[in-house]
Structures are given as structure tokens and as C-alpha cells.
């Protein structure tokens, strides 16, 4: 799917994500050109991290504060070191609350895995976790789709 044929509906997540992400890419690219000219392994690895952060930030801000996962992701990106302490605090408190449940041990451990994979998952009740997960998956596939189109675009 060519990027200029991405058929961008102005109010869709896909459009909002694409525009934010492209702007971020351009900014990253401009800064890179200003610094060293070598495309060393280190440069590419640093660039990859910056691009991944730009992709996640663009996706979360395209969704905005409507969703718990996007709020959690935006918070995580803005307060990277403080966030680790917050997650630890929330997850012990939330785990204590959840341990009163009557689900078999097996199912609980898979829920714990899922809680770690979905931003903000540690603090959600089970139903919210399932809803947020569904939305998160849809947005992740959109993110991957658009990034693929952009990569193809730059490869030609």
C-alpha cells in the first residue's frame, strides 16, 4: 500500500498517527543530518530507539486521553524514570486487591503477562483490561501498517 494512497480520513486514528509520526521522523532526520555524517551501527541503533519512541508517542497522542492505555503510555513517555517507581507502586497495590478473586491460578498468571504488555494494565480491573487490550491491538496493527507503508515509500 503506497503511502500517498493511504486514503487518509482526517479524523481517523490512522491519519492522526501518520501525520504525527511523519512530523517526528522529519525532525529526527533533520537532527541527524546536522550531527555526524556516518551511518554507524551505533547511530542506527540510537535512531531506532528514537523512532520507536516517536511511533509510540504518535500513536498514544493520536488516541489522546480517551483510553487508559494511551494515557498510561503518554505518562510513561513523559516521565521515563519516575514511571518505573509508579508502576511498581501501582502493581503491588492492584495485585493485593485482585488476589481476593476466585480465578484459578493458571488464568491469573496469564492475566499478569497481559497486564505487563498493555500500558497501564497493572492498574485495571479485568473487564477494563480486556476492553483496553482489544483497542490497543487495533492501534498496534495500524501503527505497524503505516510504518510499513512509510518504509516502502523510502525504499523506492
Amino acid at each position: 500500500m503506497a503511502v500517498h494512497r493511504l486514503s487518509l480520513n482526517p479524523s481517523s486514528y490512522k491519519t492522526r498517527f501518520t501525520q504525527r509520526f511523519l512530523r517526528a521522523l522529519m525532525k529526527i532526520n533533520k537532527n541527524k543530518n546536522r550531527s555526524s555524517t556516518s551511518s554507524s551501527f551505533q547511530e542506527i541503533r540510537r535512531g531506532r530507539r528514537r523512532i520507536k519512541i516517536a511511533a509510540d508517542g504518535s500513536m498514544a497522542s493520536a488516541v489522546g486521553s480517551k483510553r487508559a492505555w494511551s494515557r498510561a503510555m503518554l505518562y510513561k513517555l513523559r516521565t521515563r524514570t519516575r514511571h518505573q517507581a509508579w508502576v511498581r507502586k501501582i502493581s503491588t497495590a492492584a495485585k493485593r486487591k485482585r488476589d481476593v478473586g476466585n480465578k484459578p491460578e493458571e488464568e491469573l498468571s496469564r492475566t499478569d503477562d497481559l497486564r505487563r504488555l498493555v500500558p497501564g494494565g497493572e492498574a485495571m480491573d479485568f473487564c477494563s483490561l480486556l476492553e483496553e487490550t482489544a483497542h490497543y491491538i487495533k492501534c498496534l496493527t495500524t501503527q505497524a501498517h503505516v510504518m510499513q507503508s512509510i518504509a516502502d515509500f523510502y525504499s523506492t
Binding site: R110, I137, Q148
Partner: protein, 92 residues
């Protein structure tokens, strides 16, 4: 499938029924390419949760790989004026 109603122990929230959870789990199943075509009653919710975790991990890996590829492309190619024009039109 039992119709036992589970009592919610979380203060302030409405009762969470097994039916609600089953509904949410089957909606999740529809999103997972590995198991969306299987009969819902043949797939346990533990199965769906497991597949969900696997799928999210694979999507994360895909985005990581794409980030690396984009990093390489940006580092090594010059944007042509035609490409720049297309990008500008997308951002309008």
C-alpha cells in the same frame, strides 16, 4: 458454559457477570489471526489470553524491526524532492 454469576469484589463497580467476560473474550478472539476462525466454544478464555499475549509480543517485535529499518533508511537515503512533496501533501 455455566451461567454462574460471579460477585464483584471491587467497591463502586457494577456486577461483572461471566456473560460480560465471555463476550469480551470472544471479541478479543476475533482480533487474533491465529485463532479467530475457530469455534468460540472450542477455545478457552485461557487460550485466548495466551494467544493475545503472543500476538501483542509479535506486534511489538514487528514495530521494533520497522523502527530499525526506518532508522537505516533515513540514515542512508536522501529524500527526493518528489518524496518531500508527497510528504508535505500528507501533512496538510
Amino acid at each position: 458454559m455455566s451461567s454462574r454469576r460471579s460477585r464483584s469484589r471491587q467497591s463502586g463497580s457494577s456486577r461483572i457477570t461471566d456473560d460480560q467476560i465471555n463476550d469480551l473474550v470472544s471479541k478479543l478472539q476475533q482480533l487474533l489471526p491465529e485463532i479467530r476462525d475457530r469455534q468460540p466454544d472450542k477455545v478457552s478464555s485461557a487460550n485466548v489470553l495466551q494467544e493475545t499475549c503472543n500476538y501483542i509480543r509479535s506486534l511489538h517485535r514487528e514495530v521494533d524491526d520497522l523502527s530499525e529499518r526506518l532508522s537505516e533508511l533515513l540514515a542512508t537515503t536522501e529524500t527526493t524532492s518528489a518524496q518531500a512533496a508527497i510528504i508535505r501533501s500528507l501533512l496538510m
